[in-house]
């Protein structure tokens, strides 16, 4: 059995082509059949899926408690907002810039704290998230616009060739980014890096003893996670056309944390399920108005009671070096 998400998808396409292509067809046709409201709901589903994937690298793969992930998202969004409104650089060109800015920020702030473990790392990342949010509110060097944020961000465009300005186009933009990230992360899960990450998560001391550079791999996870969150921030900023500190609160970090845990640590399909829950649930239960968040909280508790490992926990792959087992195609 293939445990790598990438191979699984490939296997799915070859073994059940009809279902697979039907899924792809629904994904492509869906936005043309429904109203803008539903397209936007699925757009936010995509944003949360991307954020969930980004935190999944840090929390799911390496097991680092990061409850301040919204700050990387904020750095990405504000990088886009400031560079676009001040210098008129096209938003799509800023996509990699936002990713790099968030990753650099992660490198700078995480280097001194990377040796902390468990709950201590958790509280430091909370502090980090709060510092970034408060700094944005306090408008340093007149850059961030204070509590009001930055307005008037352009539609994503690249030299007039591609202009993304309707809900449907945003839907495709975010989901293409999500699918590409899933493919990349799926590849990464079974690579040397992914195995090193999981090893650190299971037992850091053993990992260190087997020659894994723990510090390097932890920082790498933070930087990659931050870069993905920065990409999310870029798309979010251009969709909303304005950014403000309110979008990057501790609450947002908690939601990302819940996405990963509700789905199952380190599981890519799990992240999608978690993101669907977080983004679709409040929309579906909108008629219940003030009771919907009440139910939301209760459902979170119930989920942890009945599926404590997450909704779609990641199966541990059996790595076998025995060629005989390969030939027999044994499946554990």
């Amino acid at each position: 059995m293939k445990h790598n998400a990438f191979l699984r998808i490939k296997e799915f396409f070859t073994s059940r082509p009809k279902t697979a292509f039907a899924a792809v067809a629904v994904f492509i046709v869906y936005p043309f059949l429904v109203s803008d409201y539903y397209i936007d709901v699925t757009f936010y589903f995509g944003i949360y899926a991307l954020l969930g994937l980004s935190l999944n690298i840090v929390l799911g793969e390496v097991g680092l408690f990061d409850l301040g992930h919204a700050c990387f998202y904020a750095i990405g969004a504000y990088t886009t907002a400031i560079l676009n409104t001040r210098f008129g650089i096209p938003v799509l060109a800023l996509l990699p810039v936002s990713a790099v800015a968030a990753a650099l920020f992660a490198y700078i702030v995480c280097s001194p704290i990377i040796h902390l473990r468990g709950d201590y790392l958790c509280i430091v990342t909370i502090g980090m998230g709060e510092i970034v949010r408060l700094a944005l509110i306090n408008n340093p060097f007149n850059l961030t616009g204070g509590p009001n944020g930055v307005f008037g961000i352009d539609f994503p465009s690249l030299g007039g060739a591609i202009v993304i300005d309707s809900s449907i186009e945003y839907y495709f933009l975010i989901w293409i980014v999500v699918v590409l990230s899933i493919l990349g992360l799926g590849k990464l899960q079974d690579s040397r890096i992914g195995r090193a990450w999981n090893c650190i998560r299971e037992d850091q001391t053993a990992a260190e003893a087997s020659g894994i550079d723990v510090r390097f791999y932890k920082l790498l996870a933070f930087m990659l996670g931050a870069a993905l969150a920065g990409v999310g921030g870029n798309i979010y900023a251009s969709k909303l056309m304005c950014v403000s500190p309110e979008s990057f609160t501790f609450w947002e970090s908690c939601l990302m944390f819940c996405i990963v845990l509700i789905g199952g640590m380190g599981s890519i399909p799990g992240v999608l399920i978690g993101a669907a829950f977080i983004s679709l649930f409040p929309e579906i239960f909108r008629p219940f108005a003030m009771y919907r968040m009440l139910v939301f909280g209760a459902v979170m508790i119930l989920m942890m009671m009945f599926r404590p490992g997450g909704f779609w926990p990641r199966k541990r792959g059996a790595v076998s070096f025995d060629p005989l087992l390969e030939v027999r195609g044994r499946d554990d």
């Binding site: 001194p112 704290i113 040796h115 902390l116 709950d119 201590y120 958790c122 509280i123 430091v124 909370i126 502090g127 980090m128 709060e130 510092i131 408060l134 700094a135 509110i137 306090n138 001391t205 501790f250 609450w251 908690c254 944390f257 819940c258 845990l261 509700i262 640590m265 003030m290 009771y291 968040m293 009440l294 939301f296 909280g297 209760a298 459902v299 979170m300 508790i301 989920m303 942890m304 009671m305 404590p308 490992g309």
Partner: protein, 303 residues
């Protein structure tokens, strides 16, 4: 000099709020190794219960029992009802997820927090509430140049009494010894005949009750309460817990007081807008150089 002392007293007042909330976090963390994210909402809930008692009952209580009787009733009502809420939350939301490990408990606690917040919103409505004004006569007491209000003195006295009582219970009584033993090693403690369920029952009545009383005091001090305020105070109090060394109760008290004083001094001498940044920066610096907090014991790392 006068300003410094006044700021110190303001800092102590806020710090004692943080300290009282932090005790609840620390007790739960010490025994269950779980961050109880719903604790801030116990505090907010308590504040609302106190509000209701004061608003509905002010006329009756103050005419029959005098001002202090009314306040005492509000504090007790908040403490008792939140002790009950604490037990219910523990039974329904936490107990079923303990066996699954620590991370599901975090999600469950976040869920409980959202749930409690929205219960407050459903019962009392989403708007800000204002505590009755002129509850406590606005008397300034002068020591030389230094002005302190009667309310501040009352808050300080009450919170220090509460902390002293809790300290006594934890450090001097047999039951406190049971709690400390469970915090140290749960399995051995139960082998020694300590009823772990009783310990949990105790920390989930005492913690929320302390938080609720703090809620009433905060309501009287700032006069404005909202259903989301649990997050803010909870976050600060949790910071205080870590600052003092998590699971260490005297550490949590000192952590809270230090945090309050730092916040006030930061607001007065650095910048009011950046005071929280200052607080979190100090927290991060402390953790970088003393990863177990200011008063945490240096334990060998468990492998």
């Amino acid at each position: 000099m006068q300003i410094i002392i006044e700021q110190l007293i303001n800092g102590l007042t806020i710090g004692s709020f943080y300290a009282l909330i932090a005790l609840g976090y620390s007790m739960v963390y010490g025994v269950l190794k779980m961050i109880n994210f719903a604790h801030g909402d116990f505090f907010a809930f308590g504040s609302y219960v106190g509000y209701t008692v004061l608003v509905i009952g002010t006329g009756f209580l103050t005419t029959h029992f005098g001002l202090w009787g009314g306040l005492f009733a509000a504090l007790t009502a908040a403490a008792i009802s939140l002790a009950i809420v604490g037990i219910i939350v523990e039974r329904l939301a936490y107990r079923p997820v303990y066996p699954a490990g620590r991370l599901p408990a975090v999600v469950s606690a976040l869920g409980a927090s959202i749930f409690l917040q929205n219960i407050i919103m459903v019962i009392w409505g989403p708007r800000f509430m204002a505590y009755p004004s002129k509850l406590i006569p606005n008397i300034h007491i002068k020591f030389g140049d230094i002005h302190i209000t009667l309310l501040q003195i009352m808050i300080l006295v009450l919170s220090f009494c509460l902390m002293a009582v809790l300290y006594f219970i934890i450090q001097k009584t047999l039951f406190g010894a049971a709690i400390r033993a469970s915090a140290l090693d749960r399995d051995t403690a139960s082998l020694m005949g300590i009823d772990f369920n009783k310990v949990i029952f105790f920390i989930f009545t005492l913690g929320p009750a302390l938080g609720a009383m703090t809620g009433v005091m905060v309501g009287m001090y700032y006069r404005q309460i909202s259903f989301t305020m649990g997050w803010n105070y909870g976050l600060k109090a949790f910071t205080a817990t870590i600052l003092g060394g998590i699971g260490n109760l005297p550490g949590a008290m000192f952590g809270g007081l230090i945090l309050g004083i730092l916040e006030m001094l930061g607001a007065a001498y650095i910048s009011a807008a950046w005071k929280d940044v200052f607080v979190f920066l100090i927290l991060i610096l402390v953790l970088i150089f003393r990863p177990t907090g200011l008063f945490g014991e240096k334990t060998a790392e468990k492998v």
